[in-house]
């Protein structure tokens, strides 16, 4: 007997006392929790996102689409970044004012090459106001997961208000589980020393979020 059959057999014997219940899953129990907390208007939702991002030590900028290239260029210059990587589908306009050398993410590039990149700039899939979370889904303007992980400085652009939802339930509705997702809430951190939060371990130690309005 294979272990698969053995385990399934054990499960079925273990559940011998359980009454048969053929109700569809949606009717199996009530979901009495809220779809979102509070009734925020668009502006409040964006403000809450900014507040919660900042609370977990992300650096938040706000600008209009017309100022985006200059804002990004300013952030890269302030950090002294000499190289900046953008995923293949990134709007070329965004990096048009940057003085840093623009690098492309090639399929064959190694983690070592990525480790030498100063900054990475991406878009995002959705942002969650209540938790201060940015979600990347690997779309062409966000790139492979590794490019937002190995470099120490990540700039992520959120189109507000259309990419901002209030809550985790609303974010999951918008996302495609078939894509590899990365949920980011602030820069890399740890609570492993005396259960106190410290920023900055393996992921980008500086996370800058640009909330851009049309």
């Amino acid at each position: 007997m294979s272990s698969r059959e053995r385990i399934l057999g054990r499960v079925r014997r273990a559940l011998a006392d359980v009454e048969q219940d053929d109700r569809p899953y949606e009717q199996a129990f009530a979901r009495d929790y809220l779809r979102e907390h509070g009734d925020l208007d668009v502006e409040q939702r964006v403000d809450l996102l900014a507040e919660n991002l900042a609370d977990y030590r992300a650096i938040v900028h706000r600008c209009t689409a017309a100022d985006l290239a200059a804002t990004i260029a300013g952030m890269l210059a302030a950090r002294g970044s000499r190289t900046v990587l953008g995923p293949p589908g990134l709007d070329p306009e965004w990096l048009s004012a940057a003085e840093a050398e623009r690098l492309a993410d090639r399929a064959e590039s190694t983690p070592y090459e990525l480790d030498r990149v100063d900054s990475v700039v991406t878009a995002c899939a959705v942002a969650v106001a209540e938790t201060g979370t940015i979600v990347l889904d690997g779309s062409p303007d966000q790139g492979r997961r590794r490019i937002t992980l190995v470099p120490d400085h990540h700039v992520v652009v959120v189109r507000v208000p259309e990419q901002v939802v209030s809550s985790v339930p609303q974010a999951l509705e918008r996302l495609d589980p078939a894509r590899p997702l990365t949920w980011i809430s602030g820069p890399s951190a740890t609570s492993d020393i005396e259960l106190d939060r410290v920023e900055g371990v393996h992921g980008p130690r500086t996370l800058e979020v640009v909330l851009v309005t049309a």
Partner: protein, 492 residues
Amino acid sequence: MSGTFVGMPAFPEAAHEAVNDPTLRGNLRHATHTIRAKRAKAVTEVSDWAELREAGKQIKDHTLRHLDRYLLQVEESVTAAGGVVHWAADADEANRIVTRLVKETGESEVVKVKSMATQEIGLNEALEAEGIHAYETDLAELIVQLGKDRPSHILVPAIHRNRGEIRDIFAREMSEWGRPAPEGLTDTPAELAEAARLHLREKFLRAKVGISGANFMVAETGTLVVVESEGNGRMCLTLPQTLISVVGIEKIVPTWQDLEVFLQTLPRSSTAERMNPYTSTWTGTTDQDGPRTFHLVLLDNGRTDTLADEVGRQALRCIRCSACLNVCPVYERAGGHAYGSVYPGPIGAILSPQLRGIASDIDASLPYASSLCGACYEVCPVAIDIPEVLVHLRERVVEGGPVTREGNRVVLKPAKGHAAERAAMRAARWAFSRPGALRTGQRLASRTRRFHPRTLPGPGSAWSGTRDLPPVPAEPFRDWWQRTHGGKDGAK
């Protein structure tokens, strides 16, 4: 390497040393009190906490009640997404599967995301025996591995170490494993985190095989979820060419939507954050992004035996948040090592004796490692009634009875050393089923109360050594009730 738990003494002996170690007591008190207050605040922020908790319980219970169906669905959806599914009935089988998979890649080192399942099965030791080095990459796991120590907490395995001790371990041991600690390393947490970043980066960049567990597996989509803080998880899940995930069969949730409950309750319960810094989800493999090969090892290792226990099976709802450890007065004083398992604290006291059985001294003593205060139940985000299971397991230890071990029904004999307790309970049963005898006994006790000792003699002395005997009232309750018509006559 993390040490073994084989031959652990029973909990009271194991806890004795910890209770008398002022440094350990101080470290634990500081850490648990810090997180306790923060968790309470993070939970209050969410007005529907009770409803989220109830939904989490219902989702997990439903999954467990139909576990065979959902296991098959996970297998189908993970396979459809490009993953390879393996089934492991016990720790040995899981270790053999993982060892074989690593060897097939031709690699002799792996990077690991913190995973309770792989600790439970002793994977690092099994790999080491086959010449494969496993590098723990979670900061606390790194501290434990470098310190040749054992984990003492589910979330923060090095909670028993303070910053000074961590500094010493890094300064002394890092050079043995790779990049040495920076010169003049101090004990500020930021510097310690930086040292870990530098030490592990070379291992991440060259890693070809990653090993993880998972917090959740979604049956309908075949998606796995890892919740973490540092980015070491992302490194292990995305940079290697081969990813092997070892996941307990109880980690399934039926639908993608179900994550909306746990992604709200888990971070707030474990690190007291609105959301943890990083959560990764992946479904099979993705072209040009992340590992090219993905293996999922579904682990039983005592879980189906636990599932067979009608009262005890609720322990399988556990999402490993560790909130119960942080509020437990016993854990705070005894520390994690005394529990003799990778699962310490209240959840460990009900999980270990069920996963492993109660044959050993330590497992038979774990249901007693509690004051039954109920704080663990109150904070549990999936409402596991830990005190209920503790009492149930105590009964199993004292009375024996039917249990399931490795899929077979067996009948346990009553444990030794509980003879006086059993005799007392038998006497109580006799008296309570004979109203006349009970009345006579109670009146006799009331009339002789001036002569009652303050401690019990003989085998009862151990019990009354740390407790006051309840005072006997001047008049039995039933006599008072009859005399005063239930207090209606106004008489005292």
